[in-house]
């Protein structure tokens, strides 16, 4: 069956189309003012990518903070449910799912059948999500990707005291003034962020294997800091930011339950 999942996140709207567990196409757009238009645009992009017409999709499930905006969805799931379904399909061996998006961090414990056992969420504070690294990259005047890369070359652990994205920016600026190397600042940023994510994950109990998903999973600097903090390696899929949408699509198709 061809089904679609849409993840209406705080920052991006993502659509994924699948057939019998195989991904046919994906589309992602930055969320703006007009949610309806963004949703349509993300669908159009995904259909174009899949090369199929819209009426081929038999079922559509929605997830994400704005899931209720998707008027023609057949059903909707929480992000936690969609994350668990997506990860269970990609990594059946995963027992812990860590999802770090732009505005929210989540840790989910799942059982052998991919069912959610419990979860914890960091929300409504930018310091606990991707918005933190984005703000720090801005303060360092470098693209996010660069921030991740140079973090890997750091030779020194510098502590970061600010636990707020706003105060963090000022701290980064003063570190620059003190002539701290940018790569060490980058690592400080990722270490700080990783500590917050790890302690959230410890609230559900970190059991291997651990899957890391969400847009922030693409930040190699953060991944390194997180693995150091967790003292284990995490599994990261190719398109970590599409896992929620994938989960929704699989749930729609009945492949995941």
């Amino acid at each position: 069956m061809i089904s679609a999942g849409i993840d209406v996140g705080a920052k991006n709207v993502k659509v994924l189309i699948q057939e019998d567990g195989k991904v046919l196409g994906k589309g992602s757009v930055l969320a703006g003012l007009d949610m309806g238009a963004d949703i349509k645009e993300a669908f159009d992009a995904a259909f174009k990518d899949a090369g199929i017409a819209r009426d081929k999709v038999e079922k559509l499930y929605a997830t994400g903070a704005g899931r209720n905006e998707v008027k023609d969805a057949d059903d909707s799931y929480t992000e936690v449910g969609a994350d668990a379904a997506g990860v269970a399909y990609l990594y059946p061996e995963a027992r812990t799912v860590i999802d770090v998006g732009a505005e929210e961090g989540r840790a989910i414990r799942v059982d052998e059948r991919g069912k959610v056992v419990d979860f914890a969420i960091n929300e409504r504070c930018a310091a606990g999500a991707g918005a933190f690294t984005e703000a720090m990259a801005r303060a360092l005047e470098m693209p996010l990707e660069e921030l991740g890369k140079i973090s890997l070359t750091s030779t020194k652990a510098v502590p970061m005291n600010a636990q707020c994205a706003v105060f963090g920016e000022s701290e980064v600026v003063s570190l620059i003034h003190q002539k701290t190397e940018k790569r060490d600042i980058a690592r400080a940023v990722h270490d700080a962020m990783a500590t917050r994510i790890t302690s959230m994950a410890r609230r559900v109990g970190v059991q291997p294997e651990v899957a890391l998903i969400g847009g922030v999973a693409k930040n190699v600097g953060f991944v390194e800091s997180l693995e150091r903090d967790l003292e284990l390696e995490v599994m990261i899929p190719d398109d970590p930011e599409f896992v929620s949408a994938l989960g929704a699509a699989l749930l729609a198709a009945g492949i995941a339950k």
Partner: protein
């Protein structure tokens, strides 16, 4: 005196309240806490007395939500080590 250490941020309120009038500075909570959140020092808000009381360390005040996280699993939360250890019922957590 009710000393509230911690913060409120976008995600919620996270305060450890220490009722210092009852604190005997025995240090049992300091021993019990696995993450060094508490310490016993000269009362920082009563500089003219020589009384010692428990406080949340300066380094932890901005991150207790995270540091105390492992003591507070989302399900089957056990009694908190710090609160259990205190014989005088000084410590309260807001979350």
């Amino acid at each position: 005196m009710k000393a509230n250490y911690g913060y409120k941020d976008g995600s919620g309120e996270f305060f450890i309240t220490l009722d210092t009038d009852r604190c005997t500075a025995c240090g049992d909570c300091v021993e019990a806490c696995p993450y060094g959140v508490l310490e016993v020092v000269d009362d920082p808000v009563d500089p003219l007395s020589d009384v010692q009381v428990a406080v949340v360390t300066e380094a932890e005040r901005k991150k207790i939500k995270y540091t105390c996280g492992p003591c507070k699993p989302v399900v089957d939360r056990p009694p908190l080590p710090c609160m259990t250890a205190c014989p005088e019922d000084v410590i309260a957590h807001s979350w």
